[in-house]
């Protein structure tokens, strides 16, 4: 019974999802707005449950497969926020594209449930189930626009590659279970505290697990699905895929590698270093060649993933804090960037090419400025928050004497700055292709403005979020 209280937010959310699902079934097609409102309400309710039932100390329940801690609560709250923002941005676009169906919100909430399960998963079994729950919802969401060929192609690629990655992860877990006889992270941590616990089957299992995690993150060389999925999916879905699941990927890496398998740090740090450097390199260089903004943002995601992984490599609490800070700020930036694409899109027209942003300043100076903030933040220009996120990661690397890693990170960041600044140049110094003014609902405008301004405010006061990360992780 005490265990059930721990999982109160999850239980509330699944009940709310069932209510939303059943309500949507009985609603006429033109009343999807009710489903939308109910979905937002369930998010608010889940957030309230999380705040009300959050415990100060760390509690492990359900026979060791569930953990409730304050870091988990913070990550979950951010996930609710990202999903809510995604729903807010999506409604208008989906309505215009004729895709406004209740299942979008239902699947989105199911995905969120998966994210929550991952965040508070404390055994490999729970983490795997959460991952499958999330992935399954994402596959369906990517294929949401059935009449589009590129959409179906993206979903097919995602599904097949994702299934292989899940299999790889499971295979690695089976190795770990075979050797240690447990899947619970606490017991695993105990096992690795003993000297010479390392063996060849364990290393094999670890490698497979890292391959699975790297795929879900989209780290090079397991990034092939990312550009196609980002480009092929309807923009609101891209926004969804690009924001909240990154929090889950961070939580997965944190729980498995930096918590359960911390004893194997020496073994996995090198593997992560290779993944991180490759991600930064490929992400920064290939993005320059992209003319499609969604594809460019996909490669930008890959390079940001490189940075998030770098925080883990240090293996210190500072590094973990840096990773968490980077993840949280990155999802805000990603949500803003895809929100801008949605803003510029109209009926039957997808503003996904870089050219569509030409002369945005002449059409709408305020939103051009919002996009400027997002791009500067992604590139890592002070005083925006992206700059501090990069700084704390580099600091954690320098503190553990990993100079060459830090050096290459800076090098690729400078290269990557080019394509972000190119967007800014297009907006301010090139004549617009058309003079149409932007049309969008008021709530959308307000949230997008707040989203952009948050990057500036967090950049001026990075201490607030940084201290929060440090406090909940210690």
């Amino acid at each position: 019974m005490a265990d059930l209280i721990l999982a109160a937010p999850e239980i509330f959310l699944i009940c709310a999802i069932c209510v939303v699902l059943l309500t949507d079934v009985f609603l006429p097609a033109d009343k999807t707005i009710v489903t939308y409102s109910l979905a937002l309400l369930s998010l608010v309710g889940t957030a309230a449950m999380t705040a009300y039932f959050s415990v100060g100390e760390t509690v492990i329940g359900f026979g060791g497969s569930f953990i409730a801690d304050s870091a988990g609560s913070v990550l979950k709250t951010f996930a609710y926020l990202m999903v809510a923002i995604c729903f807010l941005y999506s409604r208008d676009y989906l309505e215009r594209a004729g895709l406004l169906r209740g299942e979008f919100f239902v699947l989105g909430l199911f995905g969120l449930l998966g994210i929550m399960v991952i965040i508070s998963g404390h055994s490999l079994l729970t983490l795997y189930l959460g991952l499958e729950l999330l992935s399954l919802s994402l596959y369906a969401l990517v294929a949401f626009n059935r009449d589009s060929g590129i959409c179906a192609e993206a979903a097919m690629k995602y599904f097949v590659l994702g299934a292989i990655a899940s299999g790889t992860l499971l295979y690695g877990i089976s190795f770990l279970y075979g050797v240690t006889g447990t899947v619970e992270l606490q017991a695993l941590g105990q096992y690795f505290r003993e000297p010479d616990a390392l063996s060849l089957p364990l290393l094999l299992g670890l490698t497979f697990i890292i391959v699975g995690i790297a795929f879900k993150f989209g780290a090079v060389p397991f990034h092939m699905w990312l550009p196609d999925v980002y480009q092929g999916a309807p923009t609101p879905v891209t926004l969804y895929v690009g924001s909240a699941p990154k929090i889950a990927a961070f939580a997965l890496t944190w729980r498995v590698l930096a918590d359960g398998l911390l004893g194997l740090h020496e073994s996995w740090a090198d593997m992560l270093a290779v993944l991180a450097i490759l991600s930064l390199g490929i992400g920064s260089i290939v993005a320059i060649a992209q003319s499609n903004l969604k594809r460019m943002l996909a490669y930008s995601t890959i390079s940001h993933v490189g940075f998030i992984l770098m925080g883990f490599i240090a293996g210190t609490e500072d590094g973990l804090r840096a990773s968490m800070f980077y993840t949280l700020t990155y999802v805000i930036m990603a949500a803003g960037a895809f929100g801008m694409i949605i803003l510029l899109s109209r009926r039957g027209f997808e503003a996904e090419n870089l050219e569509d942003f030409k002369g945005l300043n002449a059409r709408n100076p305020w939103f051009a400025f919002v996009m400027l903030m997002i791009m500067f933040s992604m590139a890592g220009v002070p005083p925006f928050v992206g700059f501090y996120a990069k700084v704390v990661v580099l600091e954690s690397l320098l503190a553990t004497d990993m100079f060459w890693l830090a050096g290459s990170a800076v090098f690729f960041t400078v290269i990557g700055a080019f394509y972000y600044l190119r967007v800014v140049w297009y907006m301010y110094f090139v004549d617009p292709l058309n003079e149409e003014s932007l049309e969008a609902a008021t709530d959308f405008r307000v949230v997008l403005s707040v989203n952009g301004l948050a990057l500036l405010v967090l950049g001026i006061f990075p201490g607030v979020l940084l201290n929060l990360c440090a406090r909940v992780l210690s």
């Binding site: 265990d3 999982a7 699944i14 699902l21 359900f62 026979g63 497969s65 569930f66 169906r101 299942e103 239902v106 699947l107 199911f110 449930l113 399960v117 079994l125 729970t126 189930l129 959460g130 499958e132 729950l133 399954l136 919802s137 596959y139 369906a140 294929a143 949401f144 059935r146």
Partner: protein
């Protein structure tokens, strides 16, 4: 003694049924052979005292999955000859894989590796031991979280499948049952007064 006779009877039928699956010319026969091999293996599980798994195998695989399979095979009109084209070409490879598997299984069972479950014969449970009860006790207490999550994943699969397949295509001709039922004679029949034709 009687156990041994039963085991070898079921095992022999199982092996021949499995051979039948891959060698019969008619795909419907293949599916029926598969049903036979499932029932045989469920009988083997019964002999091992795993009565719950044995019943589930019959209920789920024979009762549901294989019947669906049969439907699909019958509806899709699979060209069996075409599918059998590579049979002799890939036969050596298949035999090699089978040989490796047999050697591996023999290694594990025959050499009695210390620590493996085959190194000693486990003691049987008493007659009143109910493995349904034991499974349920673990499933609904220790693993209740994972169990419920698996259920949610199935729900997502249903929602996703319906979302992706049920859609209104333009120009699709559909029955409207309510309109058909509530139709009246006046809606469909028009009485026309035809003047008889005269020379």
């Amino acid at each position: 003694m009687i156990n041994g006779i039963l085991f070898y009877t079921f095992a022999t039928v199982l092996v021949f049924a499995a051979l039948g699956v891959i060698s019969s010319r008619n795909p419907v026969h293949s599916v029926l052979f598969l049903v036979l091999s499932f029932t045989q293996s469920s009988a083997l599980w019964l002999l091992l005292g795993a009565e719950f798994l044995a019943i589930v195998l019959v209920l789920v695989y024979v009762g549901a999955v294989m019947v669906l399979f049969l439907f699909v095979v019958m509806m899709l009109d699979v060209n069996a000859e075409q599918m059998r084209e590579g049979f002799t070409r890939y036969l050596p490879l298949g035999l090699a894989v089978a040989f490796v598997l047999v050697v591996e299984i023999g290694y594990v069972i025959g050499f009695k590796i210390p620590g493996s479950p085959f190194s000693s014969v486990p003691e049987g449970y008493p007659a009143d031991y109910s493995n349904i009860k034991e499974l349920g006790a673990v499933l609904y207490t220790e693993h209740v979280y994972a169990f419920e999550l698996a259920a949610v994943i199935l729900l997502v699969a249903i929602v996703a499948a319906i979302t992706l397949t049920m859609r209104k295509r333009p120009g699709l001709k559909k029955q409207k049952i309510s309109e058909q039922v509530s139709v009246r004679r006046e809606d469909r029949v028009r009485l026309v007064k035809v003047e008889p034709f005269k020379e």
